[in-house]
Amino acid sequence: MTKTKPRIGVFKFASCDGCQLSLLDLEDELIALAGAVDLAFFPEMSSHMRKGPYDIGLVEGSVTTHHDASRIHEIRKQCKTLVAIGACATAGGIQALRNWHDSKQWVSHVYAHPEYIQTLGMSTPISEHVPIDFELRGCPVSKHQLLELLSATLAGRRPNIPTYSVCMECKRKGNVCVAVAQHVACLGPATQAGCGAICPSFGRGCYGCFGPAETPNTVILADQLLREGRAQQTVVRDFRSFNAWAWPYRQASEKARSL
């Protein structure tokens, strides 16, 4: 059975490039991957950029400009399966903090000539613009999950990408819970697994870079943190980082703020 190799396109929006770099960080699998798929459009790696359509589109980054807001529609048309990779693409990224502010003022804070800068007032996830087929979470995505998604797609199986909490992975790893044993704030119970519970393994609380876990319990967690005596503004900031604009995190930060 000879199959034609699926064509993959990698597209960038407002981002740090870290998520697509994860592909190049697959040192052990990169050559096999390039054998199994056709990396038809991946400018960060190749100047051989070919036109669509693509079987799988991996989109990194959030939408922050008018041009990008229309470009994502073009990309959607070109891709059979569209996967949003990373917190920027799935939730708007850290740059979505502007969504609570007047971004004009922010631009002028960074640039001497704000009039040269074209940007929208909001940083929004890909799914707010076009329908997406799958989300890979994380800031950055886990390269193992990225590989799992591609391998599963090639084999026609469901990827093993769980949506439960970081706690599940943390416990499997045999970590000692940092929230209980060190009384540090940890977003693990409300954050989706996938990273391998890195932060608790390093003795610190999870800061939520994989975004909300399957059944939102962020408000309960925010309440819990406040009950433990964490300052209100700190709890607001806890939920306002790389996935700040993801709805359950937003709910939690707004609830904490409104108290």
Binding site: A32, S165, M168, G174, V176, T215, Q224
Partner: protein, 362 residues
């Protein structure tokens, strides 16, 4: 003693201080033990504390248990290869580790007994569990320092271990004397003991050991009334308390992971990029995950309420139907390690206080 066990080709798993807790892990020698340490435990809180003496075993159980070793959190079950079209299944026949557990408490032995019934004594046996369990040596230490979350006395699981060990020690620290009273449980235990220096314990020492256990028993304040518990939870399926708990429960799955009797797993099949090899892994699962009850079209237990209810009712009620005992040994781990501090010994009485039987309603 540790050396004697290691000579026999066992890996010694004993208590040690790591990352702010006393937990089981491989140890090379006696100085790895939590000498002079104990813990203070409350709902959602575990704190290491210094003691004024050089006690080795004066602490209550930590976050992990024998389960972490005999029912491992992740294990590869098989590898499949596909050389041209056909495929071959290769079992994972990595040799099973031989563990010697040191410091095991009565509640942990009871918990291992519960897991034995699930994974070994039914119609099918889990070969992974069977091999690891069968291969292990157990050196229990009678619990003389229960914590604030312990309620083994209510569950008939402690604090004193009467069987299930090869050797059992009671640590006695008196003025100037640091002694261990040893009970022999098996022939293997007797052989191990013969390889070290010991002398017959005086009646007085024996009394002291028994007294230490009695004191531990008295120190355990937490209670869970088990009368009619099986029916109570089963028949209060629609009790409003479940909704109340759901307002506090994070559904994170910590309680199931730390519980020494929780055994649920999931099975994940995966493939390499080239598709030439495939693997099957088994991982601890939890009734708190959505995927746990997924059938085509959606999950059965969507609400947090239904998932907490499944957990508690399984533990305290269905378990009796399934395995002839409670699924809880009163170790208190789920209380201490729940980040939200949900405490089953506080929840259960609420069901008793207002019994809303659902019996008959369908």
């Amino acid at each position: 003693m540790i050396a004697a066990i290691r000579r026999r080709g066992y890996e010694v798993i004993g208590p040690q201080v790591k990352d702010g807790a006393i937990l089981y892990g491989p140890i090379q020698g006696i100085d790895a033990l939590p000498i002079g340490w104990t813990s203070e435990q409350e709902p959602a809180s575990y704190r290491l504390k210094r003691r004024s003496d050089a006690a080795m075993f004066q602490y209550a159980t930590g976050p992990n248990s024998l389960k972490d070793f005999i029912h491992p959190s992740e294990i590869k079950l098989l590898t499949a290869e596909r050389p041209e079209g056909a495929f071959r299944i290769l079992p994972n026949d990595a040799p099973s580790p031989r563990y010697a557990f040191l410091g095991v408490r009565a509640c942990e032995l009871a918990a291992a007994g519960v897991q034995d019934r699930v994974l070994m004594e039914g119609r099918y046996g889990d070969p992974v569990y069977r091999a690891r369990r069968g291969n292990s040596i157990i050196i229990a230490v009678q619990c003389t320092a229960p914590s604030g979350v312990c309620f083994c006395t209510s569950m008939g699981a402690g604090p004193r271990a009467e069987s299930g060990f090869d050797l059992a020690l009671t640590e006695l620290i008196g003025a100037g004397a640091h002694q261990f009273v040893v009970e022999v449980g098996t022939q293997l235990g007797a052989e191990l003991l013969s390889e070290i220096e010991f002398s017959d314990a005086s009646d007085e020492l024996r009394d002291q050991a028994r007294e230490a256990s009695r004191a531990a028993e008295a120190a355990i304040q937490r209670r869970l009334d088990t009368t009619g518990l099986r029916e109570l939870l089963r028949d209060n399926f629609d009790h409003p308390r479940w909704d109340d708990i759901a307002q506090r429960c994070l559904a994170c799955g910590n309680c199931t992971n730390v519980c020494p009797t929780c055994f649920c797993v999931t099975v994940e099949d995966s493939t390499s990029v080239s598709g030439e090899t495939a693997e099957r892994w088994r991982r601890w699962d939890s009734c708190f995950t959505l995927a746990f009850s997924y059938i085509h079209g959606g999950s059965v237990r969507v609400s947090t309420k239904s998932r907490y209810r499944q957990w508690l009712t399984h533990k305290l009620s269905y378990w009796h139907d399934q395995f002839g005992s409670s699924g809880c040994v009163g170790c208190g781990r789920c209380i201490a390690w729940c980040p939200a501090g949900i405490d089953l010994t506080q929840e259960v009485p609420a069901f008793r206080a207002s019994n809303h039987e659902t019996e008959g309603k369908t």
